[in-house]
Symmetry: C2
Subunit: 97 residues, 2 copies
Amino acid sequence: MDALGDRTRRAVFEQLRSGPKSVGELAAGLPVSRPAVSQHLRVLKDAGLVSERRDGTRRIYELSPVGLVELRDYFDQFWSRALDAYKEAVEGKRGRR
Amino acid sequence: MDALGDRTRRAVFEQLRSGPKSVGELAAGLPVSRPAVSQHLRVLKDAGLVSERRDGTRRIYELSPVGLVELRDYFDQFWSRALDAYKEAVEGKRGRR
DNA sequence: ACTTACCGTAAGTCTTGGCTTACGGAGATG
DNA sequence: CATCTCCGTAAGCCAAGACTTACGGTAAGT
């Protein structure tokens, strides 16, 4: 969640939704330099959101399903609790609407 | 999404899951000062994630369902596209595992 | 072996933004 | 009207981190 807090990082993440890409390809579609993308990829990788693969001198990055599942679980829990809280609140003040 | 990028802001958000709270109450449960909480609440409010209500000199904040729905929709779309991309990738390299 | 392509890392700069202290305003209470 | 509570805003400080340039390392091609 922290990893997706940065705009550029989300942009990288979104680019990867359309399939695996090399660092150069990712950087080409963004307004920042290649090393910057590299650093963001490192963060995303440490967060378990992407995985790395080597192809000659290139590094191919792709979305990591395990990280995605974790993220969704966290968010689902986040979400359901929030909904429960809201539902209780509404039932509490019966008569509204 | 930007609004939830900060840890403290997420903490505020989580506190509000257990029901509406005043600024003072929120600040009491956090390691930061009351004005800091006020500023975070402003961001969350601008993002449509919380709503404000006045009760005498106090301000009561609570989760805003509209913002929550927006957030979930965004995330669902985010999620489904990512899954689709991954599914295609797996089908593409048939034979693995 | 030399060169080229592609990339990660280090070092340094600079902006962003989170936090605090100080202040002032609005409402409740006597 | 005086005071007290509760809060938002302004100003300023400071650390976090995003970005760039420079460098070195590995793999492929000639």
